[in-house]
């Protein structure tokens, strides 16, 4: 892999000839398969697994194409291509997902090969976004920039991409397999609710290694990932992961889709037995063949070399002046801007959650604008967060005001990152064929109800997460307030959970009481917030107050009248 990112670009992995040939061949294969399907030579039963392997689902209104954004990082050029595809083949917008991917909602089967071709032009594809394979690996959206970063997770996520895409043993797993990597002190990648969650760390000698959590996951049976090994040295990274996948392939259930994820295997086998099986397999695999060569790691790391940062003072006077003169901007900085490891730089989150908006949706014009801004202010690179926002990771503090003005003018200047308006919502019954209830209208009603920026900051850190069915794409189990859509005799109802936490202090939320109607739910969330504000002591987050006072006061307030 020797195609180094050109010029003053931040770290984007660029395909080499092997990657390019492989993706090109897959597109051509799929083109022929589509032709055969349209000609009636393949039945739907035969074709469905093939289209799913290429990221193409059938949803309520049309086909949905899910594009992989490897570990959530892409270039401005790639985003512009996504905008172009959205205009040409879809309806002028796209939806960023909790898997750090992009979905188009109105795709035609007959257009799909051309779309995949257009994606391949910019080193993108829709592989590993569906099916029982190792899915697109996710990471911290602040990777390579965060002040609290210890290890750059992109390097290992890219190694996993190359290792898993064509690995014969991983193409027919019992079920899908999701891996998340975080290399920072704060976990922004929800690692313990993934099939494998990796914390990249350094030992006293400064060498990189990994803590492995296995068997986390949401959905019908939520589980928190269990600690399987505290330290796996970098050279054993691939061998250890392969050992886990082999054990899963060998023992994972294939008879019942609801019991096929690795979380059920870990649960049913028991942690100690599972660990023993993995260690045994690992001992067998360990050796020169599976050793991750430091030269390979170093080579891949060159793709993610820091961009050419200017030498700047730690803080910016221009920023301080602009904040003093413009309270709305100062609020946006306080809420949406995070500390960068390079002096004078900052990480800016572009919220895709305007009050009353559809979480994660961006128009193609907005995508073009964000691509322009990424080029102007962030070395041509951007990220998709699992919270369905976009991040410009390397912005000069001096440029933040100009950036915000342009974002604000395009409706992208909402200051709510991490606050109650920053709601995760899956597509739900408005688009998704599996849904029981709509998610988006509830998110819209809630973000409108809590639109006031002052009130949002008063409430503080509080994540609402909404799923339209038990599959939990909206991560409702780990929402401080989670909402699950259910169908009760044809009517949409919503079940509220509280106390979920996606960070390293991972917790699955508890059901507060019987499900409510949409209108009742919005009022109930407001009541929960009021109870929290009434009970909280200085500096307490919602989760802290909840842990201290218990569910009682919240339940009482919502269900007392029943």
């Amino acid at each position: 892999m020797n195609h180094i990112a050109p010029g003053a670009r931040a770290g984007i992995y660029h395909y080499d000839a092997i990657d390019r040939r492989f993706v090109g061949e897959r597109v051509e294969q799929f083109r022929k398969q589509v032709d055969r399907r349209l000609a009636g030579e393949l039945t739907e039963e035969e074709f469905k697994p093939i289209r799913l392997m290429n990221g193409l689902y059938l949803q309520l209104h049309a086909y949905m194409l899910r594009i992989a954004v490897p570990y959530g990082v892409m270039s401005a050029v790639q985003l512009r291509k996504l905008a172009e595809i959205g205009r040409t083949y879809d309806k002028g917008y796209g939806h960023f997902t909790t898997r750090q991917n992009l979905q188009y909602n109105w795709i035609k089967l007959e257009d799909t090969p051309a779309i995949l071709n257009a994606l391949a032009d910019v080193d993108m594809h829709a592989l590993q976004t569906s099916g029982n394979c190792v899915r697109n690996v996710t990471t911290d959206q602040f990777v390579g920039a965060a002040k609290d970063e210890v290890v750059d997770g992109r390097v290992y996520a890219e190694i996993l991409r190359q290792w898993t895409t064509l690995h014969p043993e991983f193409t027919y797993l019992p079920r899908k397999f999701k891996i998340a990597i975080s290399g920072a002190v704060s976990d922004r990648a929800a690692v313990r609710v993934h099939d494998v969650g990796l914390l990249a760390r350094r030992n006293e000698a400064g060498e990189a290694g990994f803590t492995f959590y296995v068997g986390g996951g949401l959905g019908r049976s939520p589980f928190i990932g269990k600690l399987v090994r505290e330290w796996v040295a970098e050279e054993d990274f691939v061998a250890y992961l392969e050992a886990i996948l082999r054990v899963y392939n060998q023992y994972g259930r294939r008879d019942n889709i609801y019991k096929a994820r690795i979380k059920i295997l870990v649960h049913e086998l028991g942690l100690e037995k599972f660990k023993a099986e993995v260690e045994e397999e690992f001992a067998r695999l360990r050796g020169p063949k599976y050793r991750l060569d430091p030269a390979i790691v170093a080579e891949i790391r060159t793709h993610f070399a820091p961009p050419p940062f200017e030498e700047l003072p730690e803080t910016s006077e221009a920023l301080a002046r602009a904040k003093a003169e413009n309270p709305a901007f100062a609020n946006w900085v306080a809420v949406n801007v995070a500390e960068h490891k390079a002096p004078g730089y900052a990480i800016a989150t572009i919220s895709l959650k305007p009050p009353g908006g559809i979480p994660g949706d961006a128009t193609c014009d907005q995508m073009d604008l964000i691509a322009d801004l990424a080029e102007r202010y962030s070395f041509g690179e951007l990220r998709v967060s699992h919270v369905q926002n976009i991040v410009l990771a390397h912005v000069k503090q001096d440029d933040l005001f100009a950036l915000w003005q342009q974002l604000d003018a395009a409706g992208l200047g909402t200051a709510n990152a991490g606050l109650i308006g920053d709601i995760i919502a899956c597509p739900g019954l408005d688009y998704c064929a599996l849904a029981n209830a709509r998610s988006i209208p509830l998110a819209q009603a809630l973000s409108a109800r809590f639109a006031d920026p002052v009130r949002q900051r008063t409430i503080g850190e509080l994540g609402i997460k909404i799923s339209g069915c038990i599959n939990a794409c909206g991560h409702h189990h780990v929402g401080a307030i989670g909402i699950l859509g259910v169908d009760k005799k044809g009517t949409e109802f919503y079940q509220i959970t509280v106390g979920g936490d996606p960070t390293l202090t991972t917790a699955i939320g508890d059901i507060l009481g019987p499900a409510l109607t949409e209108e009742e739910t919005v009022d109930a969330i407001e009541a929960i917030v009021e109870v929290y504000l009434a009970h909280r002591t200085e500096g307490e987050r919602f989760l802290d107050t909840l842990a201290r006072v218990g569910h009682g006061p919240f339940k009482e307030r919502i269900y007392a009248a029943d």
Partner: protein
């Protein structure tokens, strides 16, 4: 859930080549508008569904063919379930898109 006697049914699919929602009309044609869909009694729906499946497969026209319940309110027919209403109209959060936009 068994439908109460007297419930009407319509038959739907997604068109193979573009995924667009289609409905079976009287006479066996597939149409894009729910307003043009044939409304069938339970007794009529079963054989019609079997025939529609065979036809959709044979012609490579539609996928995921099934019947859904329809009710009449104030003289107009509408799908009983929200899911089918949304398929017949478009996303409830984007009234500018889907069939409702063309109407």
């Amino acid at each position: 859930m068994p439908s109460p006697d007297g419930t009407l049914h319509a038959i739907t699919a997604n068109r193979l080549r573009d995924g667009v929602v289609v409905f079976l009309a009287a006479g066996g044609a597939w149409v894009e508008s729910f307003a043009d869909a044939a409304l069938l009694t339970k007794a009529e729906a079963e054989p019609a569904l079997a025939a529609a499946k065979a036809q959709a497969d044979g012609d490579q026209f539609g996928v995921d063919v099934y019947a859904f319940e329809v009710e009449r309110a104030d003289g107009t027919a509408q799908p009983v379930k929200m899911r089918e209403r949304i398929r017949a109209l478009g996303p409830s959060v984007r009234l500018d898109l889907g069939k409702q936009a063309a109407a």
